[in-house]
Structure formats: C-alpha cells, structure tokens
Amino acid sequence: MIETPHNSAFMVAAYIVTAVILVGYAFVLARRARGRSR
C-alpha cells in the first residue's frame, strides 16, 4: 500500500507565492493607472 507523502508545506508555499505575485501585480497596475490619470 502507498503511503501518502507529507509535503503540504510546498503546496502552501506555492499557493501563497502565486497569490502574492498576482494580487501584487494587480495593485501595481492600479497604482500606475492612478498615477497616469493625475
């Protein structure tokens, strides 16, 4: 029988990094758009 490996730390790290990059870029775009409209 296969024992499921305990590697959830890698999964959590990947999900956090993805959220930080995508939400971070959304904020950068919003700031740049505000800067342009001034």
């Binding site: 490996p5 305990h6 790290a13 990947a14 999900y15 990059i21 995508l22 775009l29 758009a33 342009r36």
Partner: protein, 215 residues
C-alpha cells in the same frame, strides 16, 4: 465604461474567482495518493504556464500584425501582453520548483522543457529591456515585433519538448490527441483554473493596454 475601469473590474472578478479556485482545489479536490498535497500545485502551475504561453503567442501575433498593417495599436497590445506574460511566467517558474523538489528531489534540472520555458521568460524580459532601450517609437515597435515572433516560434518547441527529448517533466494530460487522463473532480478544478487564469490575463492586459495608451 472606458478600458481602464473595465480592466480593473475584470481583474477584480478574476481575483475573486481565483479565491474560489483555491477553496475548490484545497478543500474539495481529492489529494493524489502517490504525490500527496504537493500535487495540488498542479492547479496553479499548469494554468500559469498556459497563460504565459498564451501571452507569448499573442505578443508574436501582435508583432506580425504590426509589421503587416503598421497599426501601432498592435504594438501596444503586444507590449501589454509581454508584461503580463512575464508575471505569469514568474508564477510558473516559482510554483514549478516548489512542486519539483518534493516529487523529483531537486528544485531544478536543465532538461529540455524547463530550459525552454526559462528561455521564454528571458525573452519576455529581453522584450521589455529592448522597449526601454530604443527611443524611436517606429524602430522600437519593429525590433519588438521581431523578438515577439521569435517567442511565437519557440512555443511549439516548448510544447513538443517532452515528446522530442528525454525529460523529467510529465507529458501533457489535457492538451493531447487522446482524452484527458485525470479523474473528473481533478479535471473540473483544472479547467475552472484555466478559465480563471485566462480571465485574469484579459483583465491585466486590458488595464496595461489602457496605461500604454495614455502615455
């Protein structure tokens, strides 16, 4: 509604839906027994790779259309797509090693698939460095179009690299001639994630295009 608010709304909706993907992937999709929880990185890594490749394809297409039609809107669109593609490539290149380490035992290996995707990332970076370095708008658009077309040519090699070379990277399980080899719950989560990443790409590009237009 002008382009920038439309893009902001699309991005906001896509980010909310991304939160839904997180919930579905983490709480309502079964854990693969051999790889464990790390396999769930799949639901972010593969759609991020799809969006990065879609970005590069459209940078190339924008370049071709610019060279033929001399319409600077295509150049602006290609520039927007390249910046967004860099972001998705970054997601792909960080989630990939985080998945590889527990499964392959190494963060990185210089096999064909990984090396070619890294090359695509460098093409995105090079594309933007080039745009920053050339002052003349006409020349900048023409040179950028050539780099974009190089990226477009690279895409089939990236997709076929797992068939053409010996590589640790698994072969496609959805984009292949036969039916997808995934249980239905996993396949639905993956397809929803594909849709959300595509919507996110659209939202980002519309916003970025509007910023480029106001320059």
């Amino acid at each position: 509604m002008t382009q920038a608010p439309r893009g902001r709304w699309t991005t906001a909706v896509a980010l909310l839906l991304l939160a839904g993907v997180y919930v579905r992937a983490l709480a309502f999709t079964p854990t693969e027994i051999a790889q464990g929880p790390a396999q769930k990185i799949f639901y972010l890594h593969v759609p991020a790779a799809w969006s990065a490749m879609l970005s590069m394809a459209l940078v190339g297409l924008g370049g071709i259309l610019f060279l033929f039609l001399k319409d600077e809107r295509y150049d602006r669109f290609a520039a927007a797509s390249a910046e967004v593609g860099t972001v998705f490539s970054l997601v792909m290149l960080t989630t990939g090693p985080l998945w590889a380490k527990p499964i392959w035992g190494t963060w990185w290996t210089w096999d064909a698939r990984l090396t070619l995707t890294l090359m695509m990332f460098f093409l995105f970076i090079g594309y933007q460095l080039l745009r920053g370095a050339v002052a003349d708008p006409g020349l900048r658009a023409r040179y950028s179009a050539v780099v974009g077309i190089c990226g477009l040519v690279l895409l089939p090699f990236i997709h076929l690299s797992v068939y053409l070379f010996r590589t640790l990277h698994p072969r496609p399980i959805v984009l292949k001639p036969s039916a997808p080899s995934l249980p239905p719950e996993m396949l639905i989560t993956l397809l929803v994630s594909f849709a959300v990443f595509t919507l996110l790409y659209i939202g980002f590009v519309v916003q970025r295009y509007a910023i480029g237009e106001s320059r």
